[in-house]
Amino acid sequence: MTVQTVRPQAEGSASVGAPLGGDPRGPRRSRMASRMRRSEVRTGLLMVSPALLGAIVFVAYPLITLLWYSLQEWKPLAGGPVFTGLDNYERLLSDPSVRDSLGATAIFSTGLVVFNIGLALFLAVLLNQKIRGMTAFRTIFFSPVVVSLVAWTLVWTFLLQNNGGINGFLAAVGIDGPNWLREPGWAMASVIVVQVFKGVGLNMVLLLAALQEVPEELVEASKIDGATRARTFRSITLPLISPTLLLVSIVTIIGSLQVFAQIRIMTEGGPSNSTNVLAMYLYQTAFEVKEFGYGSAVGVLLFVLVLGLTLLQWGARKKWVHDEN
């Protein structure tokens, strides 16, 4: 079907390729060109149509619907949707759980980005040393990225039980470990650390690739000028890898806002809401308490947050990114 569509254009492009000298056939040629252009447009639209259909049904439609749902009181078990205007948003503003969620989300995202990028950069710099066997270490640090998230989380949940492996090993050396997943501060720290080890490998290889692009002459020149290693890293290397750092931090922040499986499996948002991030609260509201209207308002809040952060980071890129090509 598509092959037939594009055939005229093939002839067209062939005749365009032929030398046409004084070109008495000018009008005909332009008619041909426009026919070719039309068929090109048709091919383009056909090729993009499945993705377009997907973007409409799975991006545009749910976003618009979400906005509409958020204006209704709708508890599927109790009764159908009733339009209530901005009531859900008023409730959002005064809901203490939302405040907890925003706090937990902020702590989780900040902690995750800082530790993830910090560790990723550290590992990348180590791997960038010209030493034999770095590929094996890279493989090890990267491996959790391909491990099933739920399996990874379950193993750590098992390890972090009060009478689990980690506290067992700690007790063996005389340390009385906390009940990691049941004490507010420790629960959040655990969730962050487990997630950092899961995903740091991806950021690490991205940063490693960027480090390998840094021209060795520049680093050498800086050393000859008497700069210390740290100074060279800060003034030469860091600015040169800043586009990748930006990309990696955007992806990590956006990813951190959709953390769900880890939280649900490790802490279920507890203890006392301390790890109840927004995505988790959305799930609870919509699918446990079964309030679609109010859940949708939480969804709008989450979307606005993601959108705002994305725009903010892109806006900030000119300020601190050295060179973006």
Binding site: T5, V41, A51, V59, P62, V147, L159, A261, F287
Partner: protein
């Protein structure tokens, strides 16, 4: 590897010796750093061979004292094989569909000027940053209305046309933008149309990026948790991530050794594929990331 040896040859002997000591320091540091990455897998595998009475015992043992396959037998008391198959075939369909859809769309965005391209691409970019949780309520309603909850349809169609396709389209577009147009001109001269040039010239060049898209979409389907949790209710429909959470006692406390055995069976094949094809995984994923 080659470059490392070349570097070694160029360094004079004295410098090489001090370099050797710092290398030992780096190795030691690296080995310590691998612990949190390797130990969980070790713990998972060894715990799966322990009897339940020993998984939480003190002091903890790095090797099962009494080696048993009881946990593995218990894994299959649930429809674990069926759940495994569910995960496999869903991920396979999602992967194939995502590749086809995103290769075509990525090429069209990179090479063909058609009306509305910018608007459509903007929608793709919004999709790229959209967390799955944001759209889950409307999509649940949508599939519920079609009577497709507790079926695999949403788990196949949603990523194939939605999240995975969006990601793939973006990756493929970046790739196709980087191909020199001259390579395609030869195809036009040979009488190929636009689609022919795409299929015969551009697509074969895109193999590494296609592999990256395939890996990403397979993994995201294989690991999906929220969507199966929301859409599936009967055990024989479960996919693996959901299946792993089914091994609990009557009050919901996990039966640890059985759970770890199921997790081992889930993780090991992917890990093995990764180790043998790690170059593709790492290069593919980092390439697509850098270009994005």
């Amino acid at each position: 590897m080659k470059t490392e040896e070349q570097v070694l040859e160029r360094v004079p002997l004295a410098a090489r010796r001090s370099w050797k000591w710092s290398a030992i320091g780096i190795y030691a540091l690296m080995i310590v750093l691998t612990i949190p990455f390797l130990f969980p897998s070790w713990w998972m595998v060894t715990s799966s061979f322990k009897p339940l009475s020993q998984v939480l015992e003190f002091p903890p043992t790095l090797w099962p004292r009494d080696f048993t396959l009881d946990a593995y037998a218990a894994v299959f008391e649930q429809p674990f094989l069926l759940q495994y198959f569910n995960s496999l075939y869903i991920a396979a369909l999602v992967t194939v569909g995502t590749i086809a859809i995103s290769a075509m769309a990525g090429y069209a965005f990179a090479r063909i000027r058609f009306p509305g391209a910018n608007l459509i691409f903007l929608l793709i970019l919004v999709g790229l940053m959209l967390p799955g949780e944001v759209t889950i309520i409307p999509l649940f309603q949508l599939f519920n209305g079609l009577g497709l909850t507790n079926t695999h349809w949403p788990l196949i169609i949603m990523p194939m046309f939605g999240a995975s396709a969006v990601m793939g389209t973006f990756v493929m577009r970046q790739f196709f933008l980087g191909i020199p147009r001259e390579l395609e001109d030869a195809g036009f001269v040979d009488g190929l149309g636009r689609f022919g040039v795409f299929r015969k010239i551009a697509l074969p060049l895109a193999r590494p990026s296609l592999a990256a898209v395939a890996i990403l979409s397979f993994l995201s389907s294989w690991n999906a948790y929220l969507e199966p949790l929301v859409f599936l209710s009967s055990k024989d429909k479960f996919t693996l991530p959901l299946a792993l959470t089914q091994y609990t006692d009557a009050i919901g406390v996990p039966i640890w050794n059985v759970q770890q055995a199921a997790a081992t069976l889930t993780v090991l094949p992917v890990l093995l594929v990764f180790i043998f094809a790690q170059r593709h995984f790492v290069q593919g994923l980092s390439q697509s990331g850098i270009k994005g």
